[in-house]
C-alpha cells in the first residue's frame, strides 16, 4: 500500500488547505457547544499551522488573512449591526500583530470598541518580543501575547483557559452566566466561556477553575517592567516571570 508522501503535493495542499484569503463559513448553531476561534494572519503558512494547532485542541477555526476580513466576518465592517449576530459565536480571536493594512493592534482596538465583541478574548501573536508592543496590547485589553513560532504548548495553555460550554452547563440543560470574580491582582479574569446561548458574547469567571498558573496576563502585570526603551528587543534576565521567560526563546535573533 503505497502512500503519497513527499513534497510534491502542491495542488493537493492548496485544495485541502482552507481559507486562502477567504473565510470558512461560521459554525452552524448545532456546533455552538464547541469553542470557535477566529484566527487572523496574513501569512498562509502561519494560518495553516495555527489552524491545525487549534483543531488539534478541539476548536473550530475560521481563519482569515486580514484584519478587514476579520471585521467583515464579525459584522463590524460597517456601522449597522449585523443581522447574523444571533448565529455568530466567537469564543476567541487570535491575531498576528504585524499585518499589512490593519495591524493586530488596530484590530484589537476595533474589537474592544464594539459592544458585541468586546468581551471576546483577543490573543496577539508576534515574531518580535518587544516589551512596549506587549504592554500596549495588554493595555488595550489583549488577553495574552504569544511569541511566534507558536507551539502546541502555547495553544494548549490558551485552550485550557477556555472552558467548554459542557463544563458549566446545568443538569437541566439551562445555561447561565457565572458570577465574576473580583481579583484585584488580575488585569483580566481567566478565560471561560459564558454559558448564555444568546449574544452578546460575554466572558465570565469560572470559579471552579483552580489552575495555579491562572491567567498569563497576571504574570505580566506582576513582574517589574521597564518600559523606557523605545521598541527595544527584550533580552532575557533572570528575575523574569515564568511566562516571560517562556516568551524569550531566542533573544537577539529577532
Amino acid at each position: 500500500m503505497g502512500r503519497d508522501g513527499g513534497v510534491s503535493c502542491l495542488m493537493r495542499a492548496e485544495m485541502n488547505m482552507m481559507s486562502v484569503g477567504g473565510m470558512e463559513s461560521a459554525p452552524a448553531p448545532s456546533d455552538l457547544d464547541e469553542v470557535h476561534v477566529l484566527a487572523v494572519d496574513d501569512s498562509l503558512v502561519d494560518r495553516i499551522v495555527i489552524e491545525r494547532l487549534l483543531r488539534i485542541n478541539s476548536c473550530k477555526v475560521t481563519a482569515v488573512d486580514s484584519g478587514w476580513r476579520a471585521l467583515e466576518f464579525l459584522g463590524l465592517d460597517n456601522d449597522k449591526a449585523s443581522a447574523q449576530l444571533d448565529r455568530l459565536k466567537v469564543d476567541l480571536i487570535i491575531t498576528d500583530y504585524c499585518m499589512p493594512g490593519m495591524t493586530g493592534y488596530e484590530l484589537l482596538k476595533k474589537i474592544k470598541e464594539s459592544s458585541n465583541f468586546r468581551e471576546v478574548p483577543v490573543v496577539i501573536m508576534s515574531s518580535e518580543n518587544v516589551l512596549t508592543r506587549i504592554d500596549r496590547c495588554l493595555e488595550e485589553g489583549a488577553q495574552d501575547f504569544l511569541l511566534k513560532p507558536v507551539k502546541l504548548a502555547d495553544v494548549k495553555r490558551l485552550r485550557s483557559h477556555l472552558a467548554t460550554k459542557d463544563d458549566v452547563k446545568l443538569s437541566n440543560g439551562n445555561k447561565r452566566k457565572l458570577p465574576q470574580d473580583s481579583d484585584p491582582v488580575t488585569i483580566t479574569p481567566p478565560l471561560t466561556i459564558s454559558t448564555e446561548s444568546s449574544p452578546p458574547l460575554t466572558i465570565s469567571h469560572d470559579s471552579s477553575d483552580s489552575s495555579s498558573s491562572s491567567s498569563p496576563v497576571e504574570m505580566f502585570s506582576s513582574s517589574p517592567i521597564d518600559d523606557d526603551e523605545d521598541d527595544d528587543v527584550l533580552t532575557s534576565s533572570p528575575e523574569e516571570s515564568p511566562i516571560r521567560r517562556q516568551k524569550m526563546r531566542s533573544p537577539g535573533l529577532d
Binding site: 500500500m1 508522501g5 513534497v7 503558512v45 495553516i48 507558536v150 507551539k151
Partner: protein, 157 residues
Amino acid sequence: MDALISQLQRQFRDYTISLYQQDFLDDQFTELKKLQDDGSPDFVAEVLSLFFEDCVKLISNMARALDQTTGAVDFSTVGASVHQLKGSSSSVGAKRVKALCVSFKDFCEAQNFEGCVRCLQQVDIEYKTLKTKLQDLFNLEKQIIQAGGIVPQVDIN
C-alpha cells in the same frame, strides 16, 4: 523484509538527526511533527510545500525590488518580503533560511545593496537545498511504510 525495514529506519533516524545537527531544521519542525497524525498523515509535507512556494514568490519579489535597472532600490519593499520569509521559515523550523533572513533584514535596514544581493543569492540556495533534503527525508518515510514498517519517532535531544 524486517532487515530492510530496520535499515531504512536507521537511515531515517540518522538523516533526521543530521538535518538538525547541521541546522537545516530546528525544534519548530519537531513541533510540526507533533501536529501530524493518522488523520493528517501528510501535514508536515503539506506545510513545507506551502513554505517552499512562499520562498519562490518572496524571493522573486525581492529580486524585483533589488533590480536597479528599474530605478532606485526600495529597501523597505525588500525588507517587507524578507520579514515575511523570516516569519514563515520560523514557523516551519527552517533554521538556516531564518538565520539568513535575519542578516538580510539588517542589510535592508542599512540599505546595503551588495549585502542584500548576497543574501538573496544565499537564501535562494538555502531553501532549495532544504527542499531537496526534505524530499529525501519524506522519500525515506515512504519507503519505510511501503516496506511495511513504521516511521520511527526521532529524539533529537
